[in-house]
Symmetry: C2
Subunit: 262 residues, 2 copies
């Protein structure tokens, strides 16, 4: 129990190569899209009955389900309300060269983003907008920290997340692969509606409090702002990123839009 909870610590995650997916939504997405990553699955009796379809899908995927009491689960979890379900998952290895070799159309780079909620929400937005991958720079929050995982709402199991590279190295590789780098910044001369988003491009988003550093911004091919029409000073990082990523989706000829249920 203790060893599971210790995965809330970055050093333990790094040493063991494991992370926590807590709660039925995260576990459902893990089981559905990346059962190969699920090492241990802990479920209370009550949650097992309530979310029978998740347990069934896990069994179909050949995963062993460990029944635990609610108190034991609470002792393992970082979340205050793990809702009866928790998976210990292997951290997937994602490589930027592999991502680039697949010919991505839209990428999302987090440069020195520290706030877990904003980071997770941007990963979720990137997924929803159909981006091909997310790159989380060195000096950013760990994408597999429990709060980030929760904020992604399962998106960590949907698209590659590359971690650990310094921003200049990321930009170098992107540009070498023919990907235009767009810095999202209130100082941009052009708005997100005025820039050409039909070519392969990567959005560069900065820290939630102070934005992009002048050095990081200077690495980009273009600096682009989200227009502010009213009296607001700005949008928060997650909102600005959502506007940018959905602009990319809108201009992407090849993007699919599967109908969603009610």
């Amino acid at each position: 129990m203790r060893s599971v909870r210790s995965l809330a610590q970055k050093s333990v995650r790094a040493r063991q190569g494991l992370f926590l997916a807590e709660g039925p939504p995260a576990v459902r997405e893990a089981v559905r899209w990346r059962p190969d990553l699920v090492r241990d699955l802990y479920v209370t009796d009550e949650a097992g009955q309530r979310y029978a379809e998740i347990v069934g899908a896990a069994a179909d995927a050949g995963l062993a389900i460990r029944a635990v009491g609610a108190d034991s689960l609470a002792a393992m979890a970082d979340a205050q309300t793990p809702q009866g379900m928790l998976a210990v998952c292997r951290i997937p290895v994602a490589d930027l060269d592999e991502v680039l070799a697949a010919g991505p159309r839209v990428l999302c780079v987090l440069a020195h983003v520290r706030d877990p909620g904003n980071a997770g929400t941007v990963i979720r937005a990137a997924d929803a907008a159909g981006a091909d991958a997310v790159v989380v720079s060195e000096g950013s929050v760990d994408a597999y920290a429990p709060k980030v995982v929760r904020s992604t709402a399962g998106s960590l199991f949907h698209l590659p997340v590359v971690s650990g590279m310094p921003v200049p190295a990321i930009v170098d590789r992107l540009r070498a692969a023919g990907v235009t780098v767009l810095a999202a910044d209130g100082a941009g001369e052009r708005t997100v509606d005025e820039v050409d988003l039909r070519r392969p491009h990567a959005w560069l988003f900065g820290n939630e409090a102070w934005g992009l550093s002048p050095e990081d911004r200077g690495l980009a091919d273009d600096v682009v702002r989200v227009p502010i029409h009213g009296r607001a000073e700005s949008l928060n990082l997650a909102m600005a990123a959502t506007v940018c990523l959905y602009a990319s989706a809108r201009h992407g000829a090849g993007s699919a839009d599967p109908p969603t249920g009610p």
Copy 2:
């Protein structure tokens, strides 16, 4: 001190008609845009020096500045870090008929939204996207609760926020004024990119967890979804509202886009 802090309680706010604006960003916007609403302004010596331009603007507006110690300020504040500055403000009275008489182009309605962070962030998005007003339904979180105020980042001082009406009454008045009502909902047949946003319209956004009730959704003229391009189940309320409101801004011929500084 105690009486100031008690403004964190809805019943006290309702009785006194007052609310708390905490921290330099909120106080700056209050002083700049609605000094008529500021009743008492409390500033520590340190914050007064650090944010001299806010104190100067307050003095120019004829506001009395009360020097307090950091401990006293902490005792008054709901925020964990009020950053040395707090204003007790009068709750402005906003009336839907007045809003409609001004010929609005885009309105934002929160229907049974309970989460303070989502509610405040949507108000901020409405402001940034140039919406004319926000309507917060009966049964939603109080727009003047401290957590909502903080999430708006000052936008409560930028545009009218109408509170307290039931959703059916809101929709009736909107329609009588010629405003099309669009329910934002994953069940929509048309996407936000496919709907006509050139006519005056109001977005109806539902609860952060369960969305719009079938009754509220049924009141709308059209049900519109934000397209999901990847594998994400959905966007959170604040993100979905940001996409919708920015779509309105993009289609609004008359919307201004003042250049923003670096």
